[in-house]
Symmetry: C2
Subunit: 121 residues, 2 copies
Amino acid sequence: MVQYQPIALDTSFAAIADATRRGVLQRLGQAEASVTDLADSFHMSLTGMKKHIHVLETAGLVATHKIGRVRTCQLGPSALDREAAWIIGYRQLWEARFAALDTLVDHLKQQEAVDGHDRRK
Amino acid sequence: MVQYQPIALDTSFAAIADATRRGVLQRLGQAEASVTDLADSFHMSLTGMKKHIHVLETAGLVATHKIGRVRTCQLGPSALDREAAWIIGYRQLWEARFAALDTLVDHLKQQEAVDGHDRRK
DNA sequence: CCAATACTGAACCACATGGTTCAGTATCAG
DNA sequence: CTGATACTGAACCATGTGGTTCAGTATTGG
């Protein structure tokens, strides 16, 4: 369950920032596929698909093995653990922002109540 | 809590695929900041930072408002809901792959047990 | 053995990205 | 009013991206 080697968040996020590559991952979640299969599925040249596979492989999202002349692709070691963690962390930060905002608003309201009698428009 | 308008996953993932931009988000989680503040913090030209801000703004991750000559940046409407959902979905897919693999392995083991007596090496 | 298949690699293309500098414009402080 | 400040926009640059085609090489089916 441990990430084999820490791949930069940049690399992983960039890898999944492409609709075609997300599609490939989805596809490989169903079953393994050869590069040709994938190229056909996504209406793309073999070479084009190979580049996508390379990006996904670099990100640890896809693993491949070649038997004879056909290279088979399957989901790789990365389950996007660190990436998920980053997003969760961000969401907490994001929520905290509103908590802070609420506190501020409360503070202002209270202030207004105090100042109200001599500062009211 | 609802996403204002559905921003493409591509755009958001690309936005957070950059370490500087993730840093900016982290920074804005603490407190608002002007473009100049951020440019200084990240040792970058004002223009360079403005570009990053623009990317983050397009992704809905940052919101800005200009008062006088200073533009202030704060965290934007997107809490990366859809992006988090996609990753969670992927993780489930990823785990399912192992479930399938386990089933296969079990099947093979059982098969081997049956065939064992006449196929043993 | 020979042709078809499956991939690989190099080269090219248009366009995006991450950064810069330079020349504005608008606002603020004194 | 004038200079400093804060941003904006255009232009440029090197590099990366997403795609292609074309020319290989390696395997396989017949």
